[in-house]
């Protein structure tokens, strides 16, 4: 499989591609002319946009003929997942788009259905988080902020998305890394990045945590000050230290990936991994990543499955520290 892929990659010549593709498509994934995307969230959100961008990229790269997107929203994916696991069982051309948020939501909601019941196909994109303070804030560095937190956690209020979500998890990890207690974080939950942003711009809270995309424009315009980002390394063109550089051993990506339903054939699994891998290498997908500012964190197949299990353990641990699991 790998050989064939690298062969295709090196065959940049479009003519050769066209000559090769028809026969190739019939053999390897005859079943995947049509992809059925399952999005366990309402239209418009991150998972939905991922699904629609995938559809667009796969079509433009001539990998599939068509696709269909089904949205079953609610409770961070906890409403949709049981339907995907039960009613979509065995569909060899189905892909569910979900990610870290679902892992957390299933734990806090004590859902009887687990992500591990699905077949992990690939991790696709990641978004790092950022810790910001209002312009007027006395805190210049993450160290300042965490020192104030250690002195009196009640005096440092954190704005972010819903309790138990990615933002809250990062705040808890930071508190722990700074030698404090995750439970002591004075976390002010908002229904999303927008309302939290309003609280920060109005200087109502001490600091804010959210995805970089939610705050980036305000940081660029000088309305908010970014103290640190949760990425593993410095980002090009961005003069903000990582949390590790700022002195705390924390790294976090809000990742999104795709999953197949349980009960599919091995051949289907292979074909799906192949399809997603070829999409990831295609120019249209790379373009989508650029316009939407998504970080490419591609990881496919069994490696992704292992990562998923480690991630569930990690998130469960921090949610316990926060008193939510």
């Amino acid at each position: 499989m790998l050989n064939r892929r690298s062969f295709l990659q090196t065959t940049a010549c479009a003519g050769t591609m066209a000559a090769l593709l028809p026969g190739y498509a019939r053999n390897a994934h005859a079943a995947i002319d049509q992809v059925q995307f399952f999005v366990p969230a309402n239209p418009g959100g991150g998972w939905d946009q991922t699904a629609r961008s995938m559809e667009q990229a796969m079509k433009s790269a001539n990998l599939i003929k068509g696709a269909q997107v089904t949205n079953v929203g609610g409770a961070g994916g906890a409403v949709g997942l049981p339907q995907f696991v039960n009613q979509w069982k065995g569909r060899g051309n189905a892909l569910m788009v979900a990610g870290m948020v679902m892992v957390g939501a299933l734990i806090t909601n004590k859902s009887p259905v687990k992500v591990t019941q699905t077949v992990p196909i690939a991790r696709l994109t990641g978004e790092f988080e950022v810790i910001v303070v209002p312009n007027e804030s006395p805190f210049k560095t993450l160290k300042d902020l965490m020192a104030a937190f250690k002195a009196d956690p009640a005096k440092v209020s954190w704005a972010g998305g819903s309790a138990g979500g990615t933002d809250h998890i990062l705040a808890g990890m930071l508190a722990k890394a700074a030698g404090g207690e995750a439970k002591k974080v004075s976390y002010v939950a908002y229904s999303g990045g927008g309302p939290a942003l309003a609280a920060l711009l109005g200087n109502q809270v001490s600091c804010g945590v959210s995805g970089w995309g939610e705050f980036s424009e305000q940081v660029k315009a000088g309305k908010l000050r970014a103290l640190a980002i949760s990425a593993d390394k410095r980002q090009p063109g961005l003069d903000v230290p990582t949390i590790k550089e700022a002195g705390f051993d924390v790294e976090l990506y809000n990742w999104r990936g795709v999953f197949a339903p349980p009960g599919i054939k091995d051949a289907d699994k292979k074909a799906l991994i192949e399809l997603v891998t070829r999409m990831r290498d295609s120019a249209p997908w790379q373009e989508q990543l650029k316009t939407r500012e998504w970080t490419d964190v591609f990881l496919a197949g069994d490696a992704y499955g292992k990562y998923l299990e480690a991630e569930i353990t990690r998130i469960e641990g921090i949610l316990k520290d926060l008193g939510l699991a």
Partner: protein, 495 residues
């Protein structure tokens, strides 16, 4: 007058034939989805997001803005005619509007709603054009403590719909607050009152409750009294507003507009609260308060203006700062992102053509909506000449389809009919239904803001009286409660 130049450029963009066509498609589609209870502008725009792959940004946003404004117009139509609010912001319109319709004055109610929406939409858009930046500065000063005090004012305003028995009214209000608490608590991530049903984790949709209590409840109530079933509503007078209607409508239009616009601009203001406050205000200011509850035209004109003006207000933080403060604004922002445009404080500088084209198209869309809706008022009103049994079975079908459209979940349908049953009992035993719906919106809102304020102040209750904004709002709330009582005492003494 730099703004005027920019606006003129905006009109040059909005008046291009293709963009006019997009605006027309948008307002027509918006009116249609506004009529259906389940489909709102946020969901419709989200479903249309894939067109951003193939249409230029200006056209897409003109389409989206048209849908947004159109939905505000359309929502009032079903509120008035069928007592079935199409949008949560038009729930209050049903209170007086449907009473007017039952008296055969549907056309007047629809006309005052349409003209009021036009007036308010235009005032709101003017506000968006000229005062957006300072207004945003002010709106950001509102913190959780201030929002909580604002909700206290709103709760006082609820007194206008409590009905003749305060105890019954407060019971209905509490029932609504209880319904509003169902689902995951935002501040702790824990589920409340969900009985282990994953479908309830995100709470109960307010439209399900409003349609259940108003439309289904009333249908069951009528069905239980066969005698009234055969009558047909006679349309009274001309299908147009009388001179008296005009006189009684124009002030509420203006008051509603000036109330709704700043509310919409508040990051957590929303479109529902100003409609309650407007209703309260009009009832207090009316020369004929006894007509309220029996079809007072002021009770349609004011809230309708308020919800349309707030729709323009919501665009203020979005265009001035890139702050998505409503579901629809959030979806529109994600559309910006699929064009690689980052909405933020620099949006106006970086994309003047897009922003001003959008604003200009709002003026255009407003005119289109008026032209589209006014002639239809008389036509729509004829729906009520359908004999009641057919009309009400039609309402049930319509309410059911609309509710299923919200999330394609059968649980919503079960809820609709359960709540409809409760609505029947409430009507049968003389409980007002409006406080339940309002409680459902205000209760959780007030609760979340109260807890946010407490987290920020580390549990110090004095935060509500030490913040100037919050204190001012609390004083207003007290005055609203006490002054009418004092006035009543004085008139009693004078007698």
């Amino acid at each position: 007058m730099e703004t005027l130049d920019l606006l003129a450029n905006g009109f040059a963009v909005a008046l291009q034939p293709m963009n006019l066509l997009w605006a027309l498609v948008g307002v027509t589609l918006g009116t249609a989805i506004g009529v259906l209870p389940g489909l709102g502008p946020a969901l419709t725009i989200a479903l249309l997001l894939p067109i951003t792959f193939s249409v230029p940004p200006t056209a897409a946003f003109i389409l989206f803005a048209g849908i947004y404004y159109g939905a505000m117009y359309g929502g009032s139509t079903t509120s008035i005619l069928l007592n079935t609010p199409g949008e949560s912001a038009t729930i209050v319109t049903a209170l007086e509007g449907n009473k007017m319709a039952k008296k055969g004055r549907a056309a007047s109610a629809l006309a005052t709603a349409a003209i009021g929406s036009f007036v308010a939409g235009t005032i709101g858009t003017l506000g968006l054009t000229f005062v957006a930046p300072p207004l945003v500065e002010f709106a950001l000063k509102f913190g959780p403590a201030d929002y909580f005090s604002l909700m206290v004012v709103a709760f006082v305003a609820v007194s206008a719909v409590l009905g003749s028995s305060t105890l019954r009214g407060l019971t209905a209000l509490s029932f609504g607050i209880l319904l509003g608490l169902v689902g995951i608590d935002l501040q702790t991530g824990q589920a409340r009152f969900t009985f282990g049903l994953p479908e309830l984790l995100d709470g109960i949709n307010v439209i399900v409750v409003a349609v259940g209590l108003f439309a289904v409840g009333e249908t069951l109530y009528l069905a239980a009294r066969p005698k009234t079933g055969a009558s047909v509503i006679k349309l009274q007078g001309r299908a147009w507003m009388t001179k008296e209607d005009w006189q009684r409508s124009w002030k509420p239009w203006l008051r509603g507009s000036f109330l709704g616009f700043p509310f919409g601009a508040l990051p957590a203001g929303g479109a529902e609260v100003p409609t309650f406050v407007s209703y309260f205000l009009e009832k207090k200011l009316s020369k004929k308060p006894e007509e309220f509850g029996h079809g007072a035209i002021e009770g349609v004109a004011g809230p309708e203006a308020a919800n349309n003006a707030s729709a323009a207000g919501v665009l203020v933080p979005m265009l001035a700062l890139g702050l998505p403060t409503s579901a629809t604004a959030a979806i529109m922002l994600s559309a910006f992102q699929s064009y690689g445009i980052n909405p933020g404080p620099l949006l106006l500088q970086n994309q003047p053509e897009l922003v001003w084209g959008l604003i200009a198209s709002l003026y255009v869309g407003n005119v289109m909506l008026l032209v589209l809706n006014l002639p239809l008022a008389g036509l729509w009103a004829k729906i009520l000449t359908i004999p009641a049994p057919w009309l009400y079975s039609g309402i049930l079908v319509f309410a059911t389809i609309g509710t299923y459209g919200i999330s394609q979940s059968w649980i919503d349908l079960v809820l609709l009919y359960l709540i409809g049953g409760v609505g029947y009992l409430m009507r049968r035993f003389d409980f007002p239904t409006a406080p339940a719906v309002i409680g459902m919106i205000l209760g959780p809102f007030a609760e979340q803001e109260f807890r946010r304020a407490m987290t920020i102040s580390a549990g110090d209750m004095t935060t509500f009286v030490t913040r100037p904004l919050s204190l001012t709002l609390l004083i207003i709330a007290v005055l609203l409660l006490v002054v009418p009582l004092l006035l009543r005492l004085r008139t009693r003494k004078a007698r």
